[in-house]
């Protein structure tokens, strides 16, 4: 395969796929092309999209790469088609999810210890939305169930993987951060949208 052929193929595959494509899958399809070369082309393509004012973007999400529309296009897309979006998560759901995401795997009692509130209802909701799953049992008395986040969790928040979660900040740092909220929000935008 000629070098110049690789990039358009990757672009077409990203365009047609409804799911994030893994690098290994691209390597299977592009027979004989090195992983390093695929990554090089992919990043170059990603960069081209970012640079040239496109309605689409290429982002790393849930361990793969996906072509998505840019967030700024949402009003026009909604104009074109009725899109069903799930309701937003409640504050208790978000807090519980944050605890599970950072401390997984952990038991319901461990979640409740941090929030000081019963977690049964919230856990049920999160499991129904497939953002959280039972990952096993803790080998202590009573063998309680332990919970973890799912692939849908990454897809829902547009996270590349679990390590893409921002590090937990200590209280003092948070106080400092509150002094410059605008600059920080901008940074978060950049990180999430993958620009």
């Amino acid at each position: 395969m000629e070098d110049y052929e690789i990039k358009p193929i990757i672009e077409a595959l990203l365009f047609i796929s409804a799911e994030p494509i893994f690098i290994d899958r691209l390597k299977e399809i592009l027979v004989g092309v090195e992983k390093k070369q695929i990554l090089e082309k992919l990043f170059s393509l990603q960069e081209e999209y970012t640079r040239s004012n496109r309605g689409m973007q290429i982002v790393e999400v849930a361990g793969g790469y996906q072509m998505t529309t840019r967030a700024e296009m949402a009003p026009w897309i909604r104009e074109l088609e009725k899109i069903k979006t799930a309701s937003r998560l409640s504050q208790p759901s978000l807090e519980t999810l944050a605890i599970i995401a950072y401390k997984q795997p952990l038991t319901r009692a461990e979640i409740e210890a941090i929030r000081g509130v019963d977690a049964a209802g919230v856990l049920k909701t999160l499991m129904e939305r497939r953002l959280v799953k039972i990952v096993g049992r803790k080998e202590v008395a009573g063998r309680p169930l332990i919970y973890g986040t799912t692939r849908e969790f990454l897809l829902y928040f547009g996270l590349a993987n679990l390590t893409a979660l921002p590090t937990l900040k200590e209280f003092s740092e948070i106080s400092e951060r509150e002094a410059e909220p605008e600059r920080d929000a901008e940074q978060e935008m950049t990180m999430v949208v993958g620009v």
């Binding site: 796929s17 967030a71 700024e72 296009m73 944050a98 829902y156 200590e170 978060e188």
Partner: protein, 251 residues
Amino acid sequence: MTALETDSGLGVKVGAFEGSLELLLHLIQENQINIYDIPIALITQQYLETLEQMTSLKLSVAGDFLVMAATLIHIKSKMLLPVYETDEEEALEEDPRHELVARLLEYQKFKEAAGTLESYETIWRQVFVREALLATASDPSEEIFLGDVGVHDLLKALQKVIERLPNKDILTIHNDELSVRDRIGFILSLMEHEKSLLFEQLFDGIETRYGVVVTFLALLEIIRLGLIKILQVENCSALRLMSTDNLVGAG
């Protein structure tokens, strides 16, 4: 009327706190208090005032709030007692507020993380991806390239099946148990579960020439009725049975 009173502005505000830690953090932030040096008398007083407004809350919720109230009062009373140790480090370690502060900090950390997740949620709800294509969702990709099959190809495939028959001298006693009608029913039920089948799969378990012929006749009948069609990737490769819309509709 007490019911009306508890629906007042204060009642609504109190109801917004899901747990005692949340309420406590709110009071600390509202008073701009250093979390490492909580003026326990002030916070306890405000906390209890808020609690008084919570009469309309469910008991199970209020229970958690009451435990915290007891904790606060306990800490307050401990702090009123004179401390004899002169060693400062030791005094710090035995600060009765220590455990509560640790819990508050831990909770605060995840509350912040929840805020970050929420901002991701906000952005990612504006981002759309392609929906799965219907064609790729149902059929294996190889079948996209299938071409039509003639009678000649069918006969060739039949020949192969007959050649594969194990022992031509099997003594068949109950050969009348297979009828064309039975085989039609059998093939159709197979096709209902599998969208596509290999030609050879129809003859699985059939060991006599009679069985093969009956099955083949059944297949021809089904094709004539337009319930399935037979396709082939390229010359001499495996034949594949695909159900047509007629079959899907009839089923």
